[in-house]
Symmetry: C2
Subunit: 709 residues, 2 copies
């Protein structure tokens, strides 16, 4: 990063392939000349003397000055030569707009060549297929698409895989008065990827928060590290990650993989890294804009609302419930203070509706703000009792003055107090003037605005915890691993502190009878084999077996049935376990993910996991607190508290068991491929794994021989 610190701040740029006939070239030259005051532009075109009204050079080496960055837009076949020319001239930064590389079948080798050349000349290359960057705060617009005006300088940084979204993003940000420090389109990321740009923006003093639009994680390890540095620097990352729908269409993976569509894994990974996820481009803009507010104060969870519209209050209430935002309950002290200043028609509750009376009592909104912002039960204030000043106001100057005072007042409290509009209309020109240099913004509409507030609350809550997390590495599937039988699996889990049902392995009828006798009461009889993952499907399980005779008979039936249907399967024998009393069934799994490393999955059994896919996922390692959170976010969470008339389960014991599984997974990450406990039975006094399968590199300790007692 250090060596490329100046990548985004060149003082001279050469356009290689400049042409009056190219729309790209026309746009770029205009952006350089009109919007890049500190940049000296050069134009290179061997076939012309003049391009865009400026002198044209025949080649880079003909330029009579230092060139910091080469912006290359020649035909695909000529890109490599142009890059080599730049490298030979000592140019250390390049942007390649040309396309036809890794994004098409025939272009992969050409893209590899770009990487080779970049390495050879120690050159930082953005692209290919990248439209460039807008360094608004630094005054460099090395960008090949048409701008609708000068960039709006601000504190939000953006990185986008997609070049086509840069203009819509800037247009919406401009409309809402959300300024940006730098916007970068990374294209194919042959050399510089989104993680590298995040690193640059973390070091960039003008950037306070970073919005990223991602189609994939090209180098998860670097992304992870970049996210971690952003976290440490206190610069929030907001991410719009697309592709969930494609992922959902992919064939279900085997085992727990079937329950972990990529979208869920991605969401878990982003949460792990303290990144706030959004689902629309507008949310990306508004949330990053809010989080980038200069001198932003900490967002606590309880929101207070001051509005002049009952309708807006209703929408805010419904939206808060949908987004899981807590609206503060006003304390008696706050309510009585409000009653003293408010008209009798208004009710002192949160959200606070000051009613149309504000039209005849201009100081009422600020008085109410004072009370609500000073209430200790309120952490964040949304202020909606204002109209944007307009040139059509009876007294526009007074309106601007009032608005300025309101903004100053909002900024004077020791907690975040934010302006929010009822709908996502644009800033009025006078509001734009009044807000200038205040550091404040008007949240554009309840939908996008409250979504941004939720993200700010979440970020401030999770940042500390996310910082304490280890960042593990991606773990591709192990070679040489194999599935173990139930007996070996349960034994191994038991050895590592995971509470498992008491079980005995029987190899003949006699042993089965003895096991049943020793265990006493009703027992379950299940075949154990590393070759039969779904044993109940082929008659390999008998339940509620009582006594020696019955156990011996069940042994025979189970073996007959299994051998009839899978005659070649090697069997360990059968395991005999006591039948378990009532409880809630969970499923706990661990698997390796190519992008994010080891994943822990927890779900409720039965219809919850099979029909509703109701599972929670985290990247390992996790804390006890993470596991508590996983349980809470299950849709079936009420069952833990004893819904359906049953006793509440011993939650501590359940969490202990999952912690043991997580520890086991982390401590054996080298050899463990996946494991699945199904069910993990959580009762009112204890938790036990009733059945489990492990797939790992077998070691002597886990061999079947060892397990046999």
């Amino acid at each position: 990063v250090t060596s490329m610190r100046n990548f985004l701040s060149p003082t001279s740029i050469a356009v290689v392939g400049a042409s009056d006939n190219s729309e790209w070239s026309v746009n770029l030259s205009k952006n350089l000349i009109e919007h890049s005051p500190g940049v000296k532009p050069y134009f290179v075109n061997p076939g012309r003397d003049v391009v865009h009204g400026h002198r044209s050079y025949s080649k880079l080496s003909a330029i009579d000055g230092t060139v910091d960055l080469a912006f290359i837009m020649v035909r695909q076949e000529r890109v490599a030569a142009a890059l080599r020319d730049a490298g030979s001239c000592g140019i250390r930064s390049a942007i390649v707009l040309s396309s036809g590389f890794g994004e098409v079948a025939g272009g992969v080798m050409a893209e590899k060549e770009i990487r080779t050349i970049a390495a050879q000349y120690s050159m930082h290359v953005l692209g290919p297929n990248a439209s460039g960057f807008i360094n608004a705060s630094g005054g460099v617009v090395a960008y090949s698409m048409s701008l609708s005006g000068p960039p709006l300088v601000g504190t939000a940084g953006f990185v986008l895989h997609s070049g086509g979204l840069v203009n819509p993003l800037m247009a919406a940000a401009e409309a809402w008065g959300i300024g940006y420090s730098t916007v970068v389109s990374t294209g194919n990321e042959a050399v510089i990827d989104a993680a590298t740009v995040i690193d640059l923006l973390v070091e960039d003093e003008a950037t306070r928060a970073i919005g990223v639009f991602l189609e994939s994680f090209r180098d998860p390890e670097r992304f992870r590290q970049a996210a971690r540095r952003a976290l440490a620097a206190g610069k929030p990352i907001v991410a719009l990650v697309v592709g969930a729908s494609e992922a959902a269409q992919r064939a279900a993976l085997a085992h727990t993989g079937a329950l972990t569509p990529d979208a869920l894994v991605t969401a878990s990974a982003l949460r792990h890294l303290g990144i706030q996820q959004v689902s629309s481009l507008e949310e990306l803009i508004v949330t990053t804009g809010l989080l980038a507010t200069p001198n932003r104060l900490r967002f606590g969870p309880r929101v207070g609302v001051v509005s002049a519209s009952g309708g807006a209050c209703d929408i805010i209430s419904d939206t808060a419930e949908r987004l899981d935002i807590s609206l503060a309950d006003f304390e008696p002290h706050t309510r009585s203070a409000l009653r003293e200043i408010m008209p009798s028609v208004a009710v002192a509750q949160n959200p606070l509706d000051l009613t149309g009376f504000v039209a005849s009592a201009a100081d009422l909104p600020n008085l109410a703000l004072e009370i609500v912002a000073n209430a200790p039960e309120v952490d964040v204030v949304l202020f909606q009792a204002f109209a944007q000043p307009s040139t059509t106001d009876p007294d526009p100057e007074a309106a601007v003055g009032w608005f300025r005072e309101t903004v100053a007042s909002l900024n004077s409290f020791a907690k975040p107090c934010l302006l929010i509009d009822a709908a996502a209309g644009p800033l009025s020109p006078l509001a734009r003037i009044a807000l200038a240099d205040s550091g404040a913004l008007i949240l554009p509409g309840i939908h996008f605005g409250m979504s941004a507030v939720r993200a700010a609350i979440s970020y401030d809550q999770v940042r500390e915890r996310a910082l304490q997390r280890d960042v593990s590495e991606a773990l591709p599937l192990r070679e040489g691993s194999k599935m173990w039988g139930e007996a070996a699996s349960l034994e191994w889990l038991t050895q590592h502190g995971v509470p498992c049902v008491e079980f005995r392995l029987a190899r003949d009828e006699q042993q089965a009878a003895e096991c049943a006798d020793k265990l006493g009461g009703l027992v379950a009889i299940k075949v154990s084999s590393e070759e039969i993952p779904h044993k109940s499907d082929i008659g390999g399980v008998e339940l509620d077996v009582q006594g020696r005779m019955a156990a011996a008979e069940a042994f025979r039936r189970v073996l007959d049935s299994v051998q009839k249907q899978q005659p070649d399967a090697i069997l360990d024998g059968v395991i005999v376990t006591p039948m378990q009393s009532a409880g809630v069934e969970f499923i706990v799994g661990v698997r390796r993910d190519n992008t994010w490393g080891q994943l822990l999955m927890v779900g409720l059994g039965g219809v919850f996991v099979e029909v509703l896919k109701d599972v929670s996922i985290r990247i390992l390692p996790v804390s006890r607190e993470d596991i508590e959170e996983m349980l809470d976010e299950l849709r079936g969470a009420p069952l833990l508290r004893g819904a359906r008339g049953s006793a509440a389960i011993d939650r501590g014991a359940l969490v202990d068991a999952v912690v043991a599984v997580a520890d086991l997974a982390v401590n054996n990450s080298e050899t463990l491929d996946w494991l699945e406990i199904n069910p993990l039975l959580a009762g009112s006094n204890s938790t036990q794994a009733l059945d489990a399968l492990v797939c790992a590199v077998p070691s002597q300790a886990h061999s079947i021989v060892e397990v046999a007692r």
Copy 2:
């Protein structure tokens, strides 16, 4: 309605209580003078000779001309007198801006007086506490808040309970170029309510669709009728209904009511009436705007997308999945036609990404549009391969020309072809000019835009069916109804064609033994009593009973247990039923709702209904198709198709059973209070009610005596 057709089109308006010191009055006079060309304004203020630079009249009767509408903004205490004055002068329309009526505890009587005066003089009164209306198409702005410019004339009509949301709505609509015919703020609705305004807008030729913001349904019957007329006229209604969060906080109601939070009932009612529900003000604007498009074509379900940005395509894919919009699969013919025109880097799939090549091949978007719009597998086209023309374009005139041609091309196909922006930024001034009179709009962003498209598809799908539905009346709870015992309930259901389990009523041990004998096999024994709704809680149920002796013993145990815990309860006896084989348990309920009449509820049993509240609700009567749809929208729907390894259930038999319940409810709406079948067991061959409770006015036919066999 006929008599008030001119309410929104007065040719003269008197402002009663006009004053240079009132912001309301200043705004209104400005709106009348600047934005209401066909309206003659009069100002009434007994204490002034001149107001707002115009002659002031001492009273209404002093005005030397006809007054069509009185806009009253005097103090609360003087409103009644002002209304009477207006009535005496023969004025038939009034708007009351003044507040302090029904919205405050002390103002209820005063509001009632307004109603009385209105009736006395046959006067149409909007308000009190209403900010007025903007009849943009008719050139009347009888509205007391500041406009930021002239209204944007269009075809979307809006009705809002909230006056405070009118300005934000118009500002956002203006930014996105969505014009409105009329916007009405109805305030307290003492006389004119939202339903009345809907009626007016249905008759208004300038209005093509109606957006409503509702805080409550003051007169559900009138609302229903208005919605029906809108449906018949083909003018879609879009509704933002708030208050769900308050409803959710209300204590759970008894019986099935506990599973029907008001938000769910409201959603069911709106669906019943063919109304499209939205959850934000922006969606209200954009969806109404799209549905109001002049000469709108029918929206089929399969959407095709033509874009110049891969990133936008990804967001569109994810959003489509989230909103349950079908993206068309391109047929081989379409794909090969696309391949012929596209650069090699592009892939002929839907969403179609034309890539950055559009910059150097200006005709490519229109060629691709031609192919996709003519593909028979595509019903609706979203076109995103454009940039709004801008004054900063190298050739702005050419850009406007290209844009106009594109719009003309989009409008030339026989299916909806729509422009959609990647983000919700405002229309550029040149786009505004280019779009003028085209009838087209640019959907503002993928989030709001696709939400609107989904609503249009849904409306065109449900309109026919909604029109065929009867509109029943609200049904408050019956007096004199009482709960029946299980035996009477099951008997009554059986009589009305609902398939119920075979059951026998036993009044002593001997009878119980005989019943068990006759039924044969395993039986269930349950106490039957109209006074014990939850019989299993007090030991009133025994399962898996086999043989005469066991049945007699079970009878005794059940009776002992129940009599011990509820000694005063009158028992019918016990019912004996055969134990049922496996199947999927449903719960089916009917109840009366004060707002919408009889409701039918269907849910899956067990954790689905108890933990997940996974139920579907409809207003009765329903069609067979409605019931199919109810089953499909359950989260546990996969269970119907045989998830979890079980056989698929006989869906036809299940639907038959629910149809029988629905018919029974409708045919007995006068006497039935509620009923609940729990469980209704759906098997692979048949469906049976295993248990039921009915609460209704008892008739001789349902008496316990009749039931005893």
